[in-house]
């Protein structure tokens, strides 16, 4: 199973020169190529099942991989996709990062319908905007809620007295 995935990743690396692959086989894709990359995953590698979409906020002082930020003092947000293949049995973690100041990336709804709710959730809790999403609005929090709670700089008052 892992061998299969290895070969898939190798092929992908040949096709997309910009992608980075970490030791745990996490693929990092630049935002610009995300849609074509994902479409290829689905069409050519039978990755038909988008399990999970989530995002992590990395303000400038925290960067997980120890990489340097391109922009000065802005930080990034990483969007993580976990894609499974029901037929082939392998699973792949795809990452992309967007600037924290202007978090925008294309929606995966056109590739996998399952992105619909999960992207809405990411938008709701982290404020990442998925362009072309058919119905991008808050899903868990009410519409009048201010701020995005899962961002690291979110300030709130708990009920503890």
């Amino acid at each position: 199973m892992d061998n299969k995935l290895d070969s898939v990743i190798k092929e992908l690396q040949e096709k997309f020169s910009e992608i980075k692959v970490s030791e745990q086989q996490v693929v990092t894709v630049p935002v610009e190529q995300l849609t074509s990359f994902m479409q290829m995953l689905k069409d050519e590698y039978y990755m038909d099942f988008l399990t999970n979409v989530t995002a992590v906020d990395y303000p400038s002082d925290k960067n997980q991989n120890g990489e340097e930020d391109d922009e000065e003092d802005k930080g990034t947000m990483e969007v993580i996709y976990n894609v499974n293949s029901i037929t082939e049995g392998y699973t792949l973690m795809v990452k992309t990062s967007v600037a924290r100041q202007n978090p925008k990336l294309p929606s995966m709804f056109s590739v996998w319908g399952g992105a619909h709710f999960q992207e809405r959730e990411v938008f709701d809790l982290l404020g990442i905007i998925f362009t072309d999403h058919p119905d991008l609005k808050r899903i868990l929090l009410d519409d009048s809620f201010k701020g995005y709670p899962l961002r690291k700089d979110f300030q709130w008052v708990g009920g503890r007295k």
Partner: protein, 367 residues
Amino acid sequence: MLRTETYTVNFGPQHPATHGVFRVMLNLDGERIVKAEPVCGYLHRGVEKLAENRTYQQVIPYTDRLDYLAAGLQNQGYVETIEKLMEIEVPDRAEYLRIITAELSRIASHVLFVGVYALDIGAFTGFLLCFRERERILDLMEELTGSRMTYSYARIGGVAADAPEGWLDRVEKVVNDLPYYFDIYDDLISGNEIFQARTKYVGYLSAESAVDYSLSGPTLRGSGIDYDLRKAKPYSIYDRFNFEVPLGENGDCFDRYFCRILEMRQSVYILQQAIEQIRETDGPIMAKVPKVLKPPKGEAYHEIESSKGILGYYVVSDGSNKPYRVHVRRPSFVNLGFLDEMCRGGLVADLVAILGSIDIVLGEVDC
């Protein structure tokens, strides 16, 4: 001149068929559904944010309260993720105990589903009868973990306590009794003509759209897709057991319902094997884990097959004793995504049948 128009009905948040605080904004034409828009978040408690301010062990009780009907599975999913992150080897006996609690949780959850589904369709007796069986399972869990619903039994690196003396025998007895109860459900509920008329060919879900919309669990398998993580990508020690993955044929409400009934019977097989095997397995129930957990920098995504579908945990560690980010991929939440399309053209009563057959738990939907 005669004129008809659609109107909007708020189905919920307080409504007996929504299984908690969940709202469906219905656009109705007479009794036909034109549009059904799910509105969730009434139970959004911010677990993911809270977890960032808790130590790794302190997160375990919060996972209980996500899917409170099958807390054992939630615990298992979370601790296995952390173990994957820290590369901890769990002792065999602990694995078996986890499997037993997980499968018991699965049965308890499915039993409740059967009852609540019967109630949704209108059979009140089925609802209460299912509690009779559920109580027996809860008794076992209470004896083992001290709690009826929120177990917090799994620990990072093992389980909280070994099985008390004679507990396994009692589990075996209950497990051997269960198929008899399932027969009763088949007689009272599944075999009922009206029940079948209400659920068969209702809420059709094609295999393609089920996969496309990332639906999982019995909802997916009801459409005939063989995708059970216990079989497809065996985690924990599921590769040691013999069992089958029940599949539906038509992808309607009845198939989704019946898949769960069959799944319970498979869980019984797994439990019987697990009890047999754990008797021969001695040893510690906890791996050597430091008191203060500080996983190395990195991330881990791990998914298990919960009673509702694929339950994934994504944990990012920054090297401190608190997780940097915890995300839960909740099956109930994702399964809701296709509700609108499934309901369109149906009647109000169909919505109840469809929503029930997805088997959502609001704690999990809203996180």
